[in-house]
Symmetry: C2
Subunit: 907 residues, 2 copies
């Protein structure tokens, strides 16, 4: 027989699975000798048994009886007693905290008889009837599912009838009458009498708590927080203590350090003559702990001692609920407290300095998500703001600027010193200039991995996408939302962490942590306002933890960067190489025309001319990049343009040509458009993502890859001759078969040897494969025969493994899918371990078996996602590569992964 | 030390890997005691050693010396001897026959001295000098790489000078002079003397044969025939015998049965006083074997005996080359002969009747490709025809009809009794009516798995696609190719097996095998012209072999069929169920409008109205289908429309709206178009293949799947009440996660129970998953928790595993990829075992582990591909499903797979 009931004296804090968080911690405090009101916990196992059978297990009823008898014996009181009744609270408590989600019933044990006993015990008739009134009200709502308004209305009516405004002004007689009214409501609404038998009250309350596990709001909350649905909740039955028995009673909440800032020292609120729910309801203003000390120094001293005891015991910030009943302190709850990002770093290093935890443990106490929160400037939450709409949070930060509707305007106004926010329906590579110039990017279409989102994230520019409530008209240069029209030049503000879009300006708070990351500790500290010790402590804490992460991590951290300035930033933020240089991003403006000409070339002559014009440009690109990344690996991906992004839009061009014809226009331009339309029609692809891309394009368009390989080799040779240490690597995109790799590798080897010969240098430029198709992963043993390294392109790998187009899919049904629980997190944000992750695992194992010195990395968006970094550590990659802005996060998480895997993961 | 040389007396026919086909068979004939000229074989291992080191292995030189000495001893002649010289031929011989690809040098051993010896031995000076002339010519061309025209020109000049026209009119003196001229050519062209030392001749000839393995044409041939590049060739050194030593000499080729028709009895050609190369060159008309018998009854009798001996020994049709030298028969080569499809079936059953092979073996002697050749009507190859262009062969057959350019015209003219060929740039579901009405379909765009190709193949309609030389103008209703213009109504002919398009009519030969398959053996035989015993034998042979295949196969064969008439045909051709009913094909014409309305519905009312109109239509569809398939499993796939196929084209509609605006048009229609355009823009997907499809659409559009599930359940209930045996199954398309399956399954269970209750019947309708995304395969253990069956959709699985869109990719670079050896066969035609196949294997193993009674099938195009059928047998599927027309092929190949796996594959 399973044991369904644990007395507080039997459990401990490590039994959260079984006793829930609250129960386990109550047991732990009891074990520590702290003053916890006696009670017992009904296990999550009992809840699961209830959920599967639909009724309370018979053994549970017996065990509850035994536990109740023990409780009555301990306290010398009995449930329902006419003289000195035992009252208990029934509270839910799951493994993971689900604040406000589930049910509590207080004052179980009160009935028409024991209310007299309570009067005697408390000497306060009003208190006794008020307690009874509260029981019926809570019980009716929670257990009997009666609309709470019925009770609230009756209470209000009574106050009106008595001509009073506060509950406390009602007399014992009023409350007695109200109890009778409440009983009538129960009878009318539930068709039954309010149960007078205390054990029946208790059993029904326990059942109600179990049932509350499966309410819609609880399920929704769990989905959002990714808590499994089958855990169930424990139930705590605790003997009641009362903070509302006069001025020498009260109730409070306290923390062992400030959870908002991380400041050391006690912190909390106290409310005299009140119960816990009164604190939550915020009816009266609370007092500080200092006030409490003044009111009741003995209780405060005892509390102080308990706080110290708990923090030492839990070795972390504790969050405590307590009650004083007529001068006697009772501990009602404790847990490791939640805290802000800044507090997390400060507290972690404080505890190290206090020799309570090690630096390894400090590293486990903070997260990459917290670090990235510290990195973004944020809107001042206290300021006035007017919400215009909400889109998807695509790249964090807080940006304020003039709305502009074209790349050209953005560059123009930015050059004139103005902060601008580029607003587009969606962006394409032509918008890049404007995106670089803008402080923020806002689109009305596209998902979190749309062009706008990916590029903005790469640049660390604040970005909100897919705000479909906005009607963006780039011709009229307006945003329309209902009646509101925003014209070009008007100020808007976007919050890339929340997706909110505000009308007008909102004040912004800058981040000292970014100063530190960019310029180092000393510079960042020097930059702080005189005497801002708190922030200084925070910056030092970040430095200490991050430095430790760098020491312990096994994963190297590279950055995705396409230009020398990107590379510079990446390096200053700690990137140990470039894991992905997307060369197609180099083809903008003039060069894009050359690429278009190359792809649409009618003959070899046209093609050769385009190639010849491109070679010196590309060589300079790579030389600059290799100069910036001197001594560090620099992985250059051969061009992988989605064809349609490099050609005019079919629909727009068709309309243009049709209109020209309709208007009877003629001339050279019309002829050119007509010819271009024919070419675009010929090259048009129904599914460009699955079309002529990557290595396919490279093998079909003569000279394209050769141009780039030659440019890389020549740039390397020049750097070598200039005394540099270039470490270029060439990456082949979208290979599905080893044959593709062999063809490119053979050509690369030939070209590199040619350049080495011509330039008189020794060139070693490894050629590797981007693993971004399921087939590449499934045939990794063969791919490794031709590739010296693998880099997982997990964006595309996710698209093909799931058959989702990231552009199309996120808007269309992700919200529906999240709502219905099909997915809990977008597989484009956090790697899907079961599907995509399995392919990665297969490729790592089989690739390395075929070539033991194969270098393995990841360069998809997941490289900067905390949870995914842990996965990549586990499967044994050598590095992750992410956008420069995410490099610190990846460094931290790689350190955390190394610590939490206990270092037994040697590669 | 490896043995590089095998005497003919040492090898046997099973050593083809080592000795090549020719060498192994020469050894086998020697072992049988047949008169083979003595000789030896240099192994493929020697060739591989040569290819890797670039020179002949030294051990090889020694072994050749030993073998030559043995040969000289046996024959009592010596190489280069002045009195009675030994001459040898040097011939290539790889494991797989590569006709015409590689090199041969005859008469090695002749030089200025031994030409005298040959004169003495033969008593024919002219013959000796002619042989010498031939040696220098062949050697010069083959070994020394001299342009053959130099020799041919000199020969022609000599004939002109002598005033003769035939080689044979040149005298010994002329030939002697020609030898000297040839030597001069050798000196001039190669910078060296023609080697006089016989051993040097031999070594150089061996090297030349080895080198011929790696010529471009040989590599190309191997790529086409899928022969590995690293096998290498063997070299046969055979003592020369001469068929050109007078009228009692000669040479011939014979077969033990007729390889063209399969008729029993000898069959061959004989050319007196000639060498083998003369037969190939076709200079003189050959004689029949009967003529040969008359000329030389003794040699003929000996040949006859050898033929019988060989056929009995090889237990198959043998193809033999022989030479008679002055009345003595020599066997120069034998091998199992190639044959036509019809001959294959006839010979296989003949050999069974002759008790030479078993029926199991007969089954292994024929292929599905041969059966399908027998099924298609073909153009009469002897008729005059004018080739217009060549496209891709998409669905075999030979169709002749009037070119029509719209579905409506096709239906109209076909209804009037005319044969029509529907010509379109590409087809879409709206063309289906026309495609059904047409005898053939021709498109200028799209690949082998485009809509046109897939649908035509499914219907067994002849189809050629992607004929991009055709300029198809559906408005002007013309096809233009260069100067040629074909107008609507003019006759064209298309060959779906070759992709050829002919101008005008071409006579067609119908298939008796189809009569058999459709109507059974007796009906087919009755249908034949009086006395056509040959065809009758063929039809009986097909029946016997196919019936045997049905007996031994483990795989069931289902068909992909969307309508009751399809199902009827499938069933008559032997389908044991429907493996895939594509319900989206049911939504044409009026119904398509309803689906469009459903998808674009602005509110619940519109949606409900559309659903209500569709329910009775769908119910009737399914009732008809289940009636036709009474008693057999019928798998109905819930609707999976690529969204764009059900909506107007964005570009066309944009042009239309822009033009209307330009023209200042207004009115209701303009407003409607404008609204429609907005909706289409909203729903537009960059990559529809990866977009809102399959189960995603079903979960997003309320009521869509429920409609279909209800229709299936109600149709089943009606069939049950009518005494039928419906076995409907519901298949969920495009699931990537088990959660999607659970959601649909739960809804299905609820609806089915509801219908069962309402109709008062017991309904059992399994719900399963189409496995067509990598993630579905990778998480098969979980998918199996919700699915009662899996059906692999290998088309889509191939698209996502490779990241190829079949529509876009085939045209764009498949030809380039095939040319460069990246792929040898389209993975859309034959399953890619290494990539896609691995996913299938994973899903089969892990799915079955999770649910041991899981039913497993395949419903992609691969279900009817012979090689793929063997794979599906190996991995243990329960059934394959293919288009009705391919059902007989699948039955045959499933039988062959069972026989060749030795039946040890229990599931």
């Amino acid at each position: 027989m399973a044991t369904y009931v644990y007395d507080f004296s039997e459990g401990n804090k490590d039994l959260k699975d079984l006793l829930g968080g609250k129960g386990a911690n109550l047991a732990e405090m009891t074990r520590l000798g702290l003053p916890v009101p006696p009670g017992f916990t009904i296990t999550t196992e009992a809840c699961r048994a209830y959920m599967s059978s639909g009724e309370l297990p018979p053994e549970l009823r017996v065990e509850v009886t035994m536990a109740l008898r023990r409780l009555e014996d301990t306290l010398g009181r009995a449930l329902g007693d006419f003289h000195d009744p035992l009252l208990v609270s029934v509270r839910s408590g799951a493994k993971y905290s689900m604040p406000g989600m589930m049910e509590t019933v207080l004052n179980i044990g009160l009935n028409d008889a024991s209310v007299q006993g309570l009067t005697k015990f408390s000497g306060d008739e009003r208190f006794a009837w008020d307690s009874y009134r509260r029981l019926i009200q809570m019980f009716g709502k929670t257990v009997l599912d009666i609309d709470g308004d019925r009770f609230a209305d009756a209470l209000d009516a009574m106050k009106v009838a008595r001509g009073v405004t506060a509950d406390t002004d009602l007399t014992a007689a009023d409350l007695h009458e109200l109890v009778e009214q409440f009983k009538t409501i129960v009878r009318e609404e539930s068709g039954r009498e309010f149960p007078q038998h205390p054990r029946e009250q208790l059993d029904l309350a326990i059942t109600a708590v179990f049932n509350s596990w499966n309410t819609d709001r609880a399920r929704l909350y769990r989905r959002r927080e990714r808590i499994p649905n089958d855990l169930g909740t424990a139930v705590n039955v605790v003997s009641m203590v009362f903070g509302n028995l006069g001025e020498n009673s009260g109730t409070g909440v306290c923390f062992t350090r400030d959870p908002a800032t991380g400041r050391t020292g006690d912190y909390g609120d106290y409310l005299p003559n009140a119960q816990g729910e009164d604190v939550v309801a915020g009816i009266r203003n609370t007092l500080t702990l200092a006030d409490f000390e003044e009111l009741d120094p003995t209780s405060f001293a005892e509390l102080r001692q308990a706080m110290r005891r708990l923090e030492t015991h839990y070795r972390d910030l504790c969050d405590i609920e307590f009650t004083v009943e007529r001068g006697k302190l009772w501990m009602l709850q404790t847990r490791v407290g939640k805290r802000t990002a800044g507090a997390a770093f400060r507290i972690a290093t404080q505890l190290v300095d206090e020799h309570l935890i090690t630096l390894d443990e400090a590293l486990e106490r903070v997260t990459g998500a917290q670090l990235s929160k510290l990195m973004f400037p944020q809107f001042d939450v206290d300021a006035d703001r007017t919400l215009l709409a909400t889109g998807m949070a695509a790249s964090p930060g807080a940006a304020v600027g003039a709305a502009v509707f074209s790349s050209a305007t953005a560059q123009e106004r930015a050059a004139a010193g103005e902060d601008v926010i580029l607003v587009r329906r969606e962006t394409n590579p032509d918008d890049l200039g404007g995106m670089i110039a803008a402080v923020g990017v806002l689109t009305s279409r596209g998902g979190k991995t749309s062009h706008a989102a990916v590029v903005a994230r790469g640049m660390g520019t604040t970005c909100v996408v897919g705000a479909d409530a906005l009607d963006v008209d780039v011709v009229a240069r307006t945003i329309t939302v209902g009646d509101v029209v925003v014209r070009e030049g008007e100020t808007i503000a976007i919050d890339g962490s929340s997706g909110e879009i505000f009308l007008g300006s909102v004040p912004v708070v800058p981040s000292p942590v970014v100063h530190y990351l960019e310029e180092g500790l000393d510079a960042a500290l020097a930059h702080l306002p005189e005497g801002d010790e708190e922030t200084a402590e925070l910056v030092r804490a970040v430095d200490r933890v991050l430095t430790h992460a760098d020491t312990v991590r096994r994963l190297r951290v590279h950055a995705n960067a396409d230009t020398a300035p990107d590379a510079h930033r990446a390096r200053s933020w700690g990137a140990q190489g470039i894991g992905l240089c997307r060369t197609e991003h180099m083809f903008l403006g003039e060069r894009r025309v050359l690429i278009e000409r190359l792809i649409l070339a009618a003959d070899d002559g046209e093609r050769e001319a385009a190639l010849e014009a491109l070679l010196p440009l590309q060589r300079t690109d790579f030389e600059d990049l290799l100069t910036e990344m001197d001594g560090l690996p620099t992985t250059i991906r051969l061009i992988d343009p989605p064809l349609h992004e490099f050609l005019p839009d079919l629909t727009e061009l068709s309309v243009q040509v049709a209109l020209a014809q309709e208007r009877g226009e003629s001339g050279e331009q019309v002829e050119r458009d007509r010819a271009l339309l024919a070419a675009v029609q010929r090259m048009h692809e129904a599914n460009p993502m699955l079309g002529l891309r990557g290595v396919r394009l490279g093998l079909v368009v003569p000279g394209l890859f050769a141009l780039q390989i030659r440019a890389v080799a020549e740039a390397s040779a020049r750097r070598l001759r200039a005394g540099g240490r270039p470490h270029a690597e060439i990456m082949v995109p979208l290979a599905a078969s080893v044959m593709e790799l062999f063809l490119v590798r053979d050509e690369a080897e030939r070209l590199i040897a040619e350049v080495a010969e011509a330039e008189g240098v020794e060139l070693s430029i490894p050629v590797g494969a981007m693993i971004e198709l399921p087939r590449a992963a499934l045939t990794a043993d063969r791919m490794a025969q031709a590739a010296e390294f693998f880099s997982f392109g997990t964006n595309d790998l996710t698209q093909t493994t799931w058959g989702f187009s990231r552009d199309d899919v996120e808007g269309a049904f992700f919200s529906e899918y999240t709502e219905r629980g099909v997915i809990s997190v977008s597989p484009f944000e956090t790697i899907d371990r079961r599907g995509v992750g399995r392919l990665v695992r297969i490729a790592v194992e089989e690739g390395r078996r075929a070539r033991p010195d194969l270098t393995l990395g990841v360069c998809g968006e997941h490289g900067g996602d905390p949870e995914s970094v842990h996965f990549f550590h586990e499967v044994g990659l050598d590095y992750v590569s992410c956008s420069p802005f995410r490099v610190p996060v990846a460094r931290l998480e790689a350190g955390r992964a190394a610590v939490s895997s206990g270092g037994d993961q040697t590669r």
